[in-house]
Protein backbone atom coordinates (compact mmCIF):
# COMPACT_ATOMS: atom_id res chain seq x y z
CA UNK A 1 0.00 0.00 0.00
CA UNK A 2 1.68 3.11 -1.30
CA UNK A 3 -0.24 5.68 0.65
CA UNK A 4 1.51 5.11 3.94
CA UNK A 5 4.91 5.81 2.38
CA UNK A 6 6.30 8.96 3.88
CA UNK A 7 8.46 11.12 1.71
CA UNK A 8 10.59 14.09 2.63
CA UNK A 9 9.60 17.50 1.36
CA UNK A 10 12.54 17.41 -1.02
CA UNK A 11 11.35 14.09 -2.38
CA UNK A 12 7.88 15.51 -2.80
CA UNK A 13 9.23 18.52 -4.67
CA UNK A 14 11.12 16.17 -6.96
CA UNK A 15 7.92 14.14 -7.41
CA UNK A 16 6.11 17.32 -8.42
CA UNK A 17 8.83 18.12 -10.92
CA UNK A 18 8.48 14.65 -12.43
CA UNK A 19 4.75 15.13 -12.82
CA UNK A 20 5.31 18.44 -14.60
CA UNK A 21 7.76 16.76 -16.95
CA UNK A 22 5.34 13.94 -17.70
CA UNK A 23 2.54 16.38 -18.43
CA UNK A 24 4.88 18.16 -20.83
CA UNK A 25 5.85 14.98 -22.65
CA UNK A 26 2.29 13.69 -22.83
CA UNK A 27 0.75 16.83 -24.24
CA UNK A 28 3.59 17.64 -26.60
CA UNK A 29 3.49 14.14 -28.01
CA UNK A 30 -0.30 14.31 -28.37
CA UNK A 31 0.02 17.72 -29.96
CA UNK A 32 -2.86 19.02 -27.86
CA UNK A 33 -4.16 19.19 -24.33
CA UNK A 34 -3.96 21.53 -21.38
CA UNK A 35 -0.43 21.68 -19.94
CA UNK A 36 -0.85 25.07 -18.27
CA UNK A 37 -4.01 23.97 -16.45
CA UNK A 38 -2.24 20.75 -15.41
CA UNK A 39 0.80 22.53 -14.04
CA UNK A 40 -0.95 24.86 -11.60
CA UNK A 41 -2.30 22.17 -9.22
CA UNK A 42 0.78 19.89 -9.32
CA UNK A 43 1.78 20.43 -5.69
CA UNK A 44 -1.79 19.86 -4.52
CA UNK A 45 -2.02 16.57 -6.39
CA UNK A 46 1.46 15.59 -5.23
CA UNK A 47 0.52 16.20 -1.61
CA UNK A 48 -2.64 14.13 -1.97
CA UNK A 49 -1.17 11.12 -3.73
CA UNK A 50 2.42 11.11 -2.48
CA UNK A 51 2.26 13.03 0.77
CA UNK A 52 0.34 10.30 2.59
CA UNK A 53 -2.99 12.09 2.39
CA UNK A 54 -5.07 9.79 0.22
CA UNK A 55 -5.68 6.21 1.30
CA UNK A 56 -5.64 4.10 -1.83
CA UNK A 57 -4.60 0.73 -3.22
CA UNK A 58 -3.28 0.81 -6.77
CA UNK A 59 -3.70 -2.96 -7.05
CA UNK A 60 -7.30 -2.67 -5.87
CA UNK A 61 -8.38 0.58 -7.51
CA UNK A 62 -12.01 0.36 -6.48
CA UNK A 63 -11.29 -0.65 -2.87
CA UNK A 64 -14.52 0.50 -1.21
CA UNK A 65 -12.73 2.22 1.67
CA UNK A 66 -10.50 4.33 -0.55
CA UNK A 67 -10.44 8.08 -0.23
CA UNK A 68 -11.92 9.64 -3.34
CA UNK A 69 -10.16 12.14 -5.54
CA UNK A 70 -12.33 13.77 -8.17
CA UNK A 71 -10.68 15.88 -10.84
CA UNK A 72 -13.56 18.21 -11.49
CA UNK A 73 -11.50 20.43 -13.80
CA UNK A 74 -11.26 17.53 -16.20
CA UNK A 75 -9.02 19.28 -18.70
CA UNK A 76 -6.18 18.71 -16.20
CA UNK A 77 -6.47 15.03 -17.13
CA UNK A 78 -2.77 14.74 -18.06
CA UNK A 79 -1.84 15.55 -14.47
CA UNK A 80 -4.32 13.02 -13.13
CA UNK A 81 -2.98 10.28 -15.40
CA UNK A 82 0.62 11.12 -14.55
CA UNK A 83 -0.14 10.99 -10.83
CA UNK A 84 -2.02 7.71 -11.12
CA UNK A 85 0.79 6.08 -13.05
CA UNK A 86 3.44 7.27 -10.58
CA UNK A 87 1.21 5.99 -7.79
CA UNK A 88 1.31 2.56 -9.38
CA UNK A 89 -2.16 2.26 -10.91
CA UNK A 90 -0.79 1.55 -14.39
CA UNK A 91 2.39 1.49 -16.43
CA UNK A 92 3.98 4.80 -17.24
CA UNK A 93 4.07 3.78 -20.93
CA UNK A 94 0.31 4.30 -21.06
CA UNK A 95 0.88 8.02 -20.62
CA UNK A 96 2.40 8.35 -24.06
CA UNK A 97 -0.85 7.18 -25.65
CA UNK A 98 -2.74 10.24 -24.40
CA UNK A 99 -5.46 11.20 -26.88
CA UNK A 100 -4.60 8.46 -29.38
CA UNK A 101 -7.36 6.62 -31.20
CA UNK A 102 -8.22 3.47 -29.28
CA UNK A 103 -6.39 4.58 -26.14
CA UNK A 104 -8.15 4.56 -22.78
CA UNK A 105 -6.05 7.58 -21.82
CA UNK A 106 -8.71 10.00 -22.99
CA UNK A 107 -8.39 13.74 -23.53
CA UNK A 108 -10.69 14.21 -20.56
CA UNK A 109 -11.19 11.62 -17.79
CA UNK A 110 -13.81 8.93 -18.29
CA UNK A 111 -14.89 7.13 -15.11
CA UNK A 112 -13.26 3.73 -14.80
CA UNK A 113 -11.66 3.79 -18.21
CA UNK A 114 -8.29 3.84 -16.48
CA UNK A 115 -7.93 2.42 -12.98
CA UNK A 116 -8.23 5.19 -10.42
CA UNK A 117 -10.22 7.56 -12.61
CA UNK A 118 -13.11 8.24 -10.30
CA UNK A 119 -15.38 10.43 -12.44
CA UNK A 120 -16.17 11.53 -15.98
CA UNK A 121 -15.39 15.22 -16.19
CA UNK A 122 -14.57 17.78 -18.86
CA UNK A 123 -17.84 19.59 -18.94
CA UNK A 124 -17.01 21.90 -16.08
CA UNK A 125 -19.00 22.31 -12.89
CA UNK A 126 -19.98 18.73 -12.13
CA UNK A 127 -17.39 17.29 -9.73
CA UNK A 128 -18.47 18.78 -6.42
CA UNK A 129 -21.94 17.25 -6.69
CA UNK A 130 -20.39 13.85 -7.39
CA UNK A 131 -18.18 14.31 -4.36
CA UNK A 132 -21.17 15.03 -2.15
CA UNK A 133 -22.82 11.87 -3.46
CA UNK A 134 -19.78 9.85 -2.45
CA UNK A 135 -19.94 11.46 1.00
CA UNK A 136 -23.59 10.62 1.49
CA UNK A 137 -23.06 7.10 0.17
CA UNK A 138 -20.11 6.54 2.46
CA UNK A 139 -22.14 7.73 5.42
CA UNK A 140 -24.98 5.39 4.54
CA UNK A 141 -22.61 2.44 4.10
CA UNK A 142 -20.80 3.16 7.34
CA UNK A 143 -17.46 3.90 5.71
CA UNK A 144 -15.13 6.64 6.83
CA UNK A 145 -13.34 7.67 3.67
CA UNK A 146 -12.77 11.30 2.76
CA UNK A 147 -13.63 12.93 -0.55
CA UNK A 148 -11.39 15.47 -2.24
CA UNK A 149 -12.55 17.49 -5.25
CA UNK A 150 -10.23 19.68 -7.30
CA UNK A 151 -12.00 22.70 -8.77
CA UNK A 152 -10.89 25.35 -11.23
CA UNK A 153 -11.47 29.00 -10.43
CA UNK A 154 -13.18 29.66 -13.75
CA UNK A 155 -15.15 26.53 -13.06
CA UNK A 156 -16.66 28.26 -10.03
CA UNK A 157 -18.68 30.40 -12.42
CA UNK A 158 -20.89 27.37 -12.95
CA UNK A 159 -24.13 27.41 -11.01
CA UNK A 160 -23.90 23.71 -10.19
CA UNK A 161 -20.84 24.39 -8.03
CA UNK A 162 -22.92 26.63 -5.80
CA UNK A 163 -25.84 24.23 -5.78
CA UNK A 164 -23.43 21.59 -4.53
CA UNK A 165 -21.86 24.00 -2.05
CA UNK A 166 -25.22 24.79 -0.53
CA UNK A 167 -26.22 21.14 -0.33
CA UNK A 168 -22.87 20.07 1.17
CA UNK A 169 -23.27 22.47 4.05
CA UNK A 170 -26.85 21.38 4.53
CA UNK A 171 -25.81 17.74 4.71
CA UNK A 172 -22.93 18.56 7.06
CA UNK A 173 -20.36 16.99 4.77
CA UNK A 174 -17.37 17.47 7.04
CA UNK A 175 -15.39 14.89 5.11
CA UNK A 176 -15.85 16.74 1.82
CA UNK A 177 -12.75 18.74 0.94
CA UNK A 178 -12.80 21.04 -2.06
CA UNK A 179 -9.50 22.36 -3.30
CA UNK A 180 -9.77 25.38 -5.52
CA UNK A 181 -6.92 25.86 -7.97
CA UNK A 182 -7.00 29.63 -7.85
CA UNK A 183 -4.71 30.43 -10.76
CA UNK A 184 -6.62 33.63 -11.63
CA UNK A 185 -7.19 32.70 -15.27
CA UNK A 186 -9.88 30.93 -17.24
CA UNK A 187 -9.86 30.09 -20.95
CA UNK A 188 -10.29 33.45 -22.62
CA UNK A 189 -8.57 35.68 -20.08
CA UNK A 190 -8.00 36.75 -16.48
CA UNK A 191 -10.92 35.83 -14.24
CA UNK A 192 -11.13 39.39 -12.97
CA UNK A 193 -11.68 40.62 -16.53
CA UNK A 194 -14.19 37.93 -17.51
CA UNK A 195 -16.41 37.26 -14.49
CA UNK A 196 -15.57 38.66 -11.07
CA UNK A 197 -15.24 35.83 -8.54
CA UNK A 198 -14.16 37.91 -5.60
CA UNK A 199 -14.85 38.10 -2.73
CA UNK A 200 -14.26 34.37 -3.00
CA UNK A 201 -13.52 33.60 0.64
CA UNK A 202 -16.68 35.38 1.74
CA UNK A 203 -18.76 33.56 -0.84
CA UNK A 204 -17.70 30.12 0.39
CA UNK A 205 -18.05 31.20 4.02
CA UNK A 206 -21.54 32.47 3.43
CA UNK A 207 -22.41 29.10 1.90
CA UNK A 208 -21.43 27.48 5.19
CA UNK A 209 -17.95 26.27 4.33
CA UNK A 210 -14.79 26.50 6.39
CA UNK A 211 -12.27 28.30 4.20
CA UNK A 212 -8.48 27.92 4.21
CA UNK A 213 -6.05 29.80 1.99
CA UNK A 214 -2.63 28.50 1.02
CA UNK A 215 0.19 29.08 -1.37
CA UNK A 216 -0.62 26.21 -3.68
CA UNK A 217 2.98 25.72 -4.72
CA UNK A 218 4.31 25.42 -1.19
CA UNK A 219 4.12 21.70 -0.56
CA UNK A 220 4.67 22.05 3.19
CA UNK A 221 1.84 24.54 3.53
CA UNK A 222 -0.46 22.44 1.38
CA UNK A 223 0.28 19.34 3.43
CA UNK A 224 -0.17 20.97 6.80
CA UNK A 225 -3.48 22.43 5.68
CA UNK A 226 -4.66 19.06 4.42
CA UNK A 227 -3.75 17.66 7.84
CA UNK A 228 -5.66 20.41 9.60
CA UNK A 229 -8.69 19.85 7.43
CA UNK A 230 -8.71 16.18 8.42
CA UNK A 231 -8.88 17.15 12.08
CA UNK A 232 -11.82 19.45 11.39
CA UNK A 233 -13.89 16.70 9.83
CA UNK A 234 -15.89 16.15 13.00
CA UNK A 235 -17.17 19.72 12.89
CA UNK A 236 -19.47 18.64 10.08
CA UNK A 237 -18.56 21.72 8.10
CA UNK A 238 -17.38 21.13 4.54
CA UNK A 239 -13.82 22.37 4.01
CA UNK A 240 -12.37 24.31 1.13
CA UNK A 241 -8.72 25.03 0.54
CA UNK A 242 -8.22 27.96 -1.76
CA UNK A 243 -4.83 27.29 -3.28
CA UNK A 244 -3.27 30.39 -4.78
CA UNK A 245 -1.41 29.13 -7.81
CA UNK A 246 0.16 30.22 -11.06
CA UNK A 247 -1.28 28.92 -14.30
CA UNK A 248 1.53 27.21 -16.21
CA UNK A 249 3.68 27.04 -13.07
CA UNK A 250 7.23 25.88 -13.75
CA UNK A 251 7.64 27.16 -17.29
CA UNK A 252 8.19 30.90 -17.42
CA UNK A 253 6.90 31.63 -20.92
CA UNK A 254 3.71 29.68 -20.27
CA UNK A 255 3.20 31.43 -16.95
CA UNK A 256 3.47 34.72 -18.78
CA UNK A 257 0.97 34.01 -21.56
CA UNK A 258 -2.58 32.97 -20.80
CA UNK A 259 -3.27 32.17 -24.44
CA UNK A 260 -1.39 28.93 -23.77
CA UNK A 261 -4.66 27.66 -22.34
CA UNK A 262 -5.56 24.42 -24.10
CA UNK A 263 -2.43 24.45 -26.22
CA UNK A 264 0.38 21.94 -26.20
CA UNK A 265 3.95 23.13 -26.50
CA UNK A 266 5.63 22.46 -29.81
CA UNK A 267 8.94 20.61 -29.96
CA UNK A 268 11.02 23.75 -29.66
CA UNK A 269 9.02 25.16 -26.75
CA UNK A 270 9.09 21.76 -25.09
CA UNK A 271 12.87 21.74 -25.21
CA UNK A 272 12.99 25.12 -23.46
CA UNK A 273 10.44 23.93 -20.93
CA UNK A 274 12.46 20.79 -20.21
CA UNK A 275 15.55 22.93 -19.60
CA UNK A 276 13.64 25.12 -17.16
CA UNK A 277 12.17 22.17 -15.30
CA UNK A 278 15.55 20.46 -15.16
CA UNK A 279 17.17 23.59 -13.75
CA UNK A 280 14.87 23.40 -10.72
CA UNK A 281 15.96 19.89 -9.81
Amino acid sequence: MKSTATKSYDELREQARQLRLDVLEMTTKAGSGHPSSSWSPVEVVTALYFGGMLRYRPDEPWWPERDRFIMSKGHAAPLLYAALSHAGYFEREELWRLRDVGSPVQGHPIQGMMPGVEATTGSLGQGLSLGLGHVLGGRLAGKNYRVYVLLGDGECEAGQIWEAAMAAAHFKAGNLVAILDYNKFQETGPISREIALEPLVDKWKSFGWNVHEVNGHDIEEVLSTLQLVKQLEATGQPQIIIAHTIKGKGVSFVEADFTFHGRALNAEQAELAREELDATR
Binding site: R99, I110, E187, G262
Partner: protein, 325 residues
Protein backbone atom coordinates in the same frame (compact mmCIF):
# COMPACT_ATOMS: atom_id res chain seq x y z
CA UNK B 1 -7.66 11.53 -46.63
CA UNK B 2 -8.63 15.01 -47.81
CA UNK B 3 -12.25 15.93 -47.80
CA UNK B 4 -13.56 16.86 -51.27
CA UNK B 5 -10.44 15.71 -53.08
CA UNK B 6 -12.02 13.00 -55.21
CA UNK B 7 -14.78 15.41 -56.16
CA UNK B 8 -12.21 18.01 -57.20
CA UNK B 9 -13.23 20.52 -54.52
CA UNK B 10 -10.82 23.07 -53.16
CA UNK B 11 -10.28 22.85 -49.41
CA UNK B 12 -10.66 26.10 -47.48
CA UNK B 13 -7.58 27.29 -45.60
CA UNK B 14 -9.75 28.36 -42.72
CA UNK B 15 -11.53 25.99 -40.32
CA UNK B 16 -15.29 26.44 -40.44
CA UNK B 17 -15.23 28.08 -36.99
CA UNK B 18 -13.00 30.87 -38.34
CA UNK B 19 -15.39 31.31 -41.24
CA UNK B 20 -18.17 31.59 -38.68
CA UNK B 21 -16.21 34.25 -36.78
CA UNK B 22 -15.76 36.26 -39.97
CA UNK B 23 -19.42 35.94 -40.86
CA UNK B 24 -20.52 37.01 -37.38
CA UNK B 25 -18.23 40.01 -37.48
CA UNK B 26 -19.60 41.03 -40.90
CA UNK B 27 -23.10 40.82 -39.52
CA UNK B 28 -22.23 42.77 -36.36
CA UNK B 29 -20.81 45.53 -38.57
CA UNK B 30 -23.98 45.89 -40.61
CA UNK B 31 -26.53 45.19 -37.88
CA UNK B 32 -26.18 47.19 -34.65
CA UNK B 33 -28.83 45.06 -32.95
CA UNK B 34 -26.59 42.02 -33.00
CA UNK B 35 -25.13 41.11 -29.63
CA UNK B 36 -22.87 38.15 -28.91
CA UNK B 37 -22.92 35.98 -25.79
CA UNK B 38 -19.94 33.79 -25.06
CA UNK B 39 -19.43 30.94 -22.59
CA UNK B 40 -15.69 31.52 -22.12
CA UNK B 41 -14.87 29.89 -25.42
CA UNK B 42 -14.67 32.87 -27.77
CA UNK B 43 -11.10 31.99 -28.65
CA UNK B 44 -12.20 28.52 -29.74
CA UNK B 45 -15.51 29.36 -31.40
CA UNK B 46 -14.03 32.57 -32.93
CA UNK B 47 -16.85 34.66 -31.53
CA UNK B 48 -13.92 36.71 -30.20
CA UNK B 49 -13.64 38.42 -33.59
CA UNK B 50 -16.64 40.47 -32.50
CA UNK B 51 -15.18 41.07 -29.06
CA UNK B 52 -12.12 42.62 -30.61
CA UNK B 53 -14.10 45.12 -32.69
CA UNK B 54 -17.28 45.66 -30.72
CA UNK B 55 -16.46 44.94 -27.09
CA UNK B 56 -19.62 46.73 -25.95
CA UNK B 57 -21.81 44.23 -27.79
CA UNK B 58 -19.91 41.19 -26.57
CA UNK B 59 -20.67 39.53 -23.24
CA UNK B 60 -18.62 36.71 -21.81
CA UNK B 61 -21.03 35.18 -19.33
CA UNK B 62 -18.40 32.69 -18.23
CA UNK B 63 -18.53 28.95 -17.72
CA UNK B 64 -22.23 29.06 -16.97
CA UNK B 65 -24.29 27.94 -19.93
CA UNK B 66 -27.71 28.10 -18.28
CA UNK B 67 -27.11 31.68 -17.32
CA UNK B 68 -25.69 32.36 -20.77
CA UNK B 69 -28.91 31.31 -22.44
CA UNK B 70 -31.10 33.16 -19.96
CA UNK B 71 -29.18 36.39 -20.34
CA UNK B 72 -29.27 36.02 -24.11
CA UNK B 73 -33.01 35.55 -24.07
CA UNK B 74 -33.34 38.64 -21.88
CA UNK B 75 -31.38 40.66 -24.39
CA UNK B 76 -33.79 39.52 -27.09
CA UNK B 77 -36.64 40.76 -24.90
CA UNK B 78 -34.83 44.08 -24.68
CA UNK B 79 -34.87 44.41 -28.45
CA UNK B 80 -31.50 43.02 -29.46
CA UNK B 81 -30.64 40.06 -31.64
CA UNK B 82 -28.51 37.64 -29.61
CA UNK B 83 -26.06 35.13 -30.95
CA UNK B 84 -25.48 32.68 -28.11
CA UNK B 85 -22.24 30.91 -28.88
CA UNK B 86 -20.48 27.94 -27.29
CA UNK B 87 -19.66 24.30 -27.95
CA UNK B 88 -22.87 22.56 -28.98
CA UNK B 89 -22.27 19.91 -26.30
CA UNK B 90 -21.95 22.22 -23.29
CA UNK B 91 -24.58 24.64 -24.48
CA UNK B 92 -27.36 22.21 -25.35
CA UNK B 93 -26.64 19.67 -22.65
CA UNK B 94 -26.20 22.13 -19.79
CA UNK B 95 -28.87 24.62 -20.71
CA UNK B 96 -31.53 22.53 -22.40
CA UNK B 97 -34.39 23.62 -20.18
CA UNK B 98 -33.39 27.26 -20.43
CA UNK B 99 -33.36 26.91 -24.21
CA UNK B 100 -36.68 25.07 -24.07
CA UNK B 101 -38.57 27.75 -22.14
CA UNK B 102 -36.82 31.05 -22.72
CA UNK B 103 -35.92 30.49 -26.37
CA UNK B 104 -38.01 27.76 -28.01
CA UNK B 105 -41.41 28.08 -26.29
CA UNK B 106 -41.07 31.83 -26.13
CA UNK B 107 -40.28 31.78 -29.86
CA UNK B 108 -37.81 34.59 -29.50
CA UNK B 109 -35.69 35.81 -32.36
CA UNK B 110 -32.23 34.55 -31.47
CA UNK B 111 -29.53 32.30 -32.83
CA UNK B 112 -27.73 29.58 -30.96
CA UNK B 113 -24.38 28.57 -32.41
CA UNK B 114 -23.37 25.02 -31.59
CA UNK B 115 -19.67 25.06 -32.29
CA UNK B 116 -17.41 22.03 -32.48
CA UNK B 117 -20.32 19.86 -33.60
CA UNK B 118 -19.71 16.22 -34.39
CA UNK B 119 -16.57 14.21 -33.68
CA UNK B 120 -14.03 16.21 -35.65
CA UNK B 121 -13.01 18.26 -32.63
CA UNK B 122 -10.98 15.09 -32.19
CA UNK B 123 -8.50 14.84 -29.40
CA UNK B 124 -10.46 16.57 -26.64
CA UNK B 125 -12.66 13.49 -26.66
CA UNK B 126 -16.27 12.53 -26.02
CA UNK B 127 -16.97 14.87 -23.12
CA UNK B 128 -16.58 17.82 -25.49
CA UNK B 129 -18.03 16.33 -28.69
CA UNK B 130 -21.47 17.33 -29.94
CA UNK B 131 -22.77 14.08 -31.36
CA UNK B 132 -26.33 14.50 -30.11
CA UNK B 133 -26.94 18.16 -30.87
CA UNK B 134 -29.25 17.67 -33.84
CA UNK B 135 -31.35 15.17 -31.89
CA UNK B 136 -31.62 17.62 -28.98
CA UNK B 137 -32.55 20.45 -31.31
CA UNK B 138 -35.16 18.17 -32.81
CA UNK B 139 -36.86 18.14 -29.43
CA UNK B 140 -37.40 21.90 -29.57
CA UNK B 141 -40.28 22.45 -32.02
CA UNK B 142 -39.91 26.10 -32.93
CA UNK B 143 -36.24 26.07 -33.92
CA UNK B 144 -34.96 26.39 -37.46
CA UNK B 145 -31.99 24.01 -37.63
CA UNK B 146 -29.15 24.71 -40.03
CA UNK B 147 -25.97 22.72 -40.68
CA UNK B 148 -23.76 24.62 -43.13
CA UNK B 149 -21.64 22.46 -45.41
CA UNK B 150 -19.01 24.92 -46.57
CA UNK B 151 -17.65 28.43 -46.06
CA UNK B 152 -20.17 30.03 -48.40
CA UNK B 153 -23.22 28.50 -46.73
CA UNK B 154 -21.85 29.37 -43.28
CA UNK B 155 -21.67 33.01 -44.35
CA UNK B 156 -25.12 32.82 -45.91
CA UNK B 157 -26.68 31.13 -42.86
CA UNK B 158 -25.28 33.63 -40.36
CA UNK B 159 -26.41 36.49 -42.56
CA UNK B 160 -29.89 35.02 -42.98
CA UNK B 161 -30.45 34.19 -39.31
CA UNK B 162 -31.80 37.52 -38.00
CA UNK B 163 -34.42 37.56 -40.76
CA UNK B 164 -35.77 34.16 -39.78
CA UNK B 165 -38.82 34.31 -37.53
CA UNK B 166 -38.18 32.54 -34.23
CA UNK B 167 -35.08 30.82 -32.90
CA UNK B 168 -32.33 29.44 -35.08
CA UNK B 169 -29.63 26.85 -34.47
CA UNK B 170 -26.50 26.83 -36.61
CA UNK B 171 -23.88 24.14 -36.24
CA UNK B 172 -20.23 25.11 -36.57
CA UNK B 173 -17.18 22.96 -36.74
CA UNK B 174 -13.51 22.88 -35.82
CA UNK B 175 -12.22 21.56 -39.16
CA UNK B 176 -11.88 23.22 -42.55
CA UNK B 177 -14.45 22.36 -45.21
CA UNK B 178 -14.01 22.39 -48.98
CA UNK B 179 -15.74 25.04 -51.06
CA UNK B 180 -18.91 23.60 -52.57
CA UNK B 181 -20.50 26.91 -53.55
CA UNK B 182 -19.25 30.27 -54.80
CA UNK B 183 -18.78 32.85 -52.04
CA UNK B 184 -20.71 35.43 -54.08
CA UNK B 185 -24.36 34.83 -54.94
CA UNK B 186 -24.35 31.62 -52.92
CA UNK B 187 -27.49 29.62 -53.60
CA UNK B 188 -28.84 29.40 -50.07
CA UNK B 189 -32.46 29.55 -49.09
CA UNK B 190 -33.51 28.42 -45.62
CA UNK B 191 -35.58 25.26 -45.90
CA UNK B 192 -34.61 24.57 -49.50
CA UNK B 193 -32.15 21.74 -50.05
CA UNK B 194 -29.57 22.12 -52.81
CA UNK B 195 -28.91 19.52 -55.45
CA UNK B 196 -25.12 19.80 -55.72
CA UNK B 197 -24.73 16.91 -58.16
CA UNK B 198 -27.23 15.34 -60.51
CA UNK B 199 -27.71 11.60 -60.77
CA UNK B 200 -30.41 9.03 -61.39
CA UNK B 201 -29.31 5.82 -59.65
CA UNK B 202 -29.50 6.96 -56.04
CA UNK B 203 -29.45 10.11 -53.92
CA UNK B 204 -26.90 10.80 -51.23
CA UNK B 205 -28.43 13.17 -48.70
CA UNK B 206 -25.98 14.81 -46.34
CA UNK B 207 -25.43 17.80 -44.11
CA UNK B 208 -22.27 19.52 -42.91
CA UNK B 209 -19.02 17.88 -43.89
CA UNK B 210 -20.86 14.82 -45.17
CA UNK B 211 -21.98 16.77 -48.23
CA UNK B 212 -18.36 16.96 -49.42
CA UNK B 213 -17.85 13.33 -48.44
CA UNK B 214 -20.99 12.53 -50.45
CA UNK B 215 -19.58 14.32 -53.49
CA UNK B 216 -16.37 12.33 -53.10
CA UNK B 217 -18.40 9.15 -52.90
CA UNK B 218 -20.39 10.11 -55.98
CA UNK B 219 -17.15 10.57 -57.93
CA UNK B 220 -16.04 7.06 -56.97
CA UNK B 221 -19.42 5.53 -57.73
CA UNK B 222 -19.43 7.22 -61.16
CA UNK B 223 -16.32 5.25 -62.06
CA UNK B 224 -18.38 2.13 -61.45
CA UNK B 225 -21.18 3.43 -63.62
CA UNK B 226 -23.41 4.44 -60.73
CA UNK B 227 -24.66 8.00 -60.96
CA UNK B 228 -25.54 9.54 -57.62
CA UNK B 229 -27.47 12.70 -57.01
CA UNK B 230 -26.11 14.58 -53.99
CA UNK B 231 -28.47 16.68 -51.92
CA UNK B 232 -27.18 19.23 -49.42
CA UNK B 233 -29.83 19.21 -46.72
CA UNK B 234 -28.42 22.28 -44.97
CA UNK B 235 -31.74 22.95 -43.23
CA UNK B 236 -32.90 20.08 -41.05
CA UNK B 237 -36.02 21.99 -40.00
CA UNK B 238 -38.08 23.04 -41.84
CA UNK B 239 -37.22 20.01 -43.92
CA UNK B 240 -37.44 20.24 -47.71
CA UNK B 241 -40.04 17.52 -48.19
CA UNK B 242 -40.31 18.21 -51.92
CA UNK B 243 -36.61 17.63 -52.54
CA UNK B 244 -36.65 14.41 -50.52
CA UNK B 245 -39.79 13.11 -52.22
CA UNK B 246 -38.24 13.92 -55.60
CA UNK B 247 -35.06 12.08 -54.63
CA UNK B 248 -37.13 9.04 -53.74
CA UNK B 249 -39.28 9.04 -56.86
CA UNK B 250 -36.60 10.05 -59.35
CA UNK B 251 -33.65 7.99 -58.11
CA UNK B 252 -35.38 5.22 -56.15
CA UNK B 253 -32.69 4.79 -53.50
CA UNK B 254 -31.29 6.99 -50.72
CA UNK B 255 -28.17 7.08 -48.58
CA UNK B 256 -28.18 9.50 -45.64
CA UNK B 257 -24.85 10.63 -44.21
CA UNK B 258 -24.24 12.76 -41.14
CA UNK B 259 -21.59 13.47 -38.50
CA UNK B 260 -24.04 12.67 -35.70
CA UNK B 261 -25.68 9.78 -33.92
CA UNK B 262 -28.07 7.87 -36.15
CA UNK B 263 -30.67 8.20 -33.41
CA UNK B 264 -32.64 11.37 -33.90
CA UNK B 265 -30.35 12.98 -36.43
CA UNK B 266 -30.84 14.10 -40.01
CA UNK B 267 -31.25 10.61 -41.44
CA UNK B 268 -34.00 9.47 -39.12
CA UNK B 269 -35.98 12.60 -40.02
CA UNK B 270 -35.44 12.03 -43.72
CA UNK B 271 -36.56 8.42 -43.28
CA UNK B 272 -39.85 9.54 -41.81
CA UNK B 273 -40.49 11.73 -44.85
CA UNK B 274 -39.50 8.96 -47.27
CA UNK B 275 -41.70 6.45 -45.44
CA UNK B 276 -44.68 8.75 -45.84
CA UNK B 277 -44.03 10.11 -49.30
CA UNK B 278 -42.54 7.24 -51.26
CA UNK B 279 -40.82 4.36 -49.49
CA UNK B 280 -37.60 3.34 -51.26
CA UNK B 281 -34.53 1.43 -50.03
CA UNK B 282 -32.38 3.53 -47.67
CA UNK B 283 -29.03 3.19 -45.95
CA UNK B 284 -27.58 5.33 -43.17
CA UNK B 285 -24.05 6.52 -42.51
CA UNK B 286 -23.59 7.97 -39.03
CA UNK B 287 -22.63 7.05 -35.48
CA UNK B 288 -24.16 3.83 -34.27
CA UNK B 289 -24.91 4.17 -30.54
CA UNK B 290 -21.36 4.95 -29.46
CA UNK B 291 -19.35 7.55 -27.67
CA UNK B 292 -16.32 8.25 -29.78
CA UNK B 293 -12.95 8.41 -28.05
CA UNK B 294 -10.20 11.02 -28.32
CA UNK B 295 -8.14 10.94 -31.46
CA UNK B 296 -7.07 12.57 -34.66
CA UNK B 297 -10.27 13.65 -36.46
CA UNK B 298 -9.49 11.83 -39.69
CA UNK B 299 -8.55 8.63 -37.89
CA UNK B 300 -11.82 8.82 -35.98
CA UNK B 301 -13.91 9.37 -39.10
CA UNK B 302 -12.31 6.27 -40.53
CA UNK B 303 -12.72 4.15 -37.42
CA UNK B 304 -16.37 5.12 -37.01
CA UNK B 305 -17.23 4.71 -40.69
CA UNK B 306 -17.97 8.29 -41.60
CA UNK B 307 -15.85 8.56 -44.76
CA UNK B 308 -16.57 8.77 -48.47
CA UNK B 309 -15.65 5.08 -48.67
CA UNK B 310 -18.42 4.24 -46.25
CA UNK B 311 -20.90 6.24 -48.32
CA UNK B 312 -19.69 4.39 -51.42
CA UNK B 313 -20.27 1.04 -49.75
CA UNK B 314 -23.73 2.11 -48.62
CA UNK B 315 -24.42 3.40 -52.14
CA UNK B 316 -23.54 0.10 -53.77
CA UNK B 317 -25.70 -1.73 -51.28
CA UNK B 318 -28.74 0.47 -51.67
CA UNK B 319 -28.57 0.29 -55.48
CA UNK B 320 -28.48 -3.50 -55.21
CA UNK B 321 -31.49 -3.40 -52.88
CA UNK B 322 -33.33 -1.17 -55.32
CA UNK B 323 -32.72 -3.59 -58.20
CA UNK B 324 -33.82 -6.54 -56.08
CA UNK B 325 -37.04 -4.79 -55.09
Amino acid sequence: MQLGKQAGLKLSDAPLRNVFGDALLDLAKSNPKVVVLDGDLGNSTKAEYVRNEFPERFFNIGIAESNLVGVGAGLAGAGFYPFIVSFSSFLLCNAYDQIRLAVAMSEIDATIIGSHGGITLGKDGPTQMGIEDLALMGGLPTFTIIVPSDPATMHAAVKAAPDIKGPVFIRSSRVPMPFIYPMEDTPFEVGKANVVREGTDLTIIGCGMMVSAGLDAAAVLAEEGIEARVLDLHTIRPMDIGAIAAAASETGAIVCAEEHLLQGGMGSNVARVVAEENPVPMRFVGLKDVYVESGDPWDLLKKYNLTADDIVAAGREVVKAKKAA
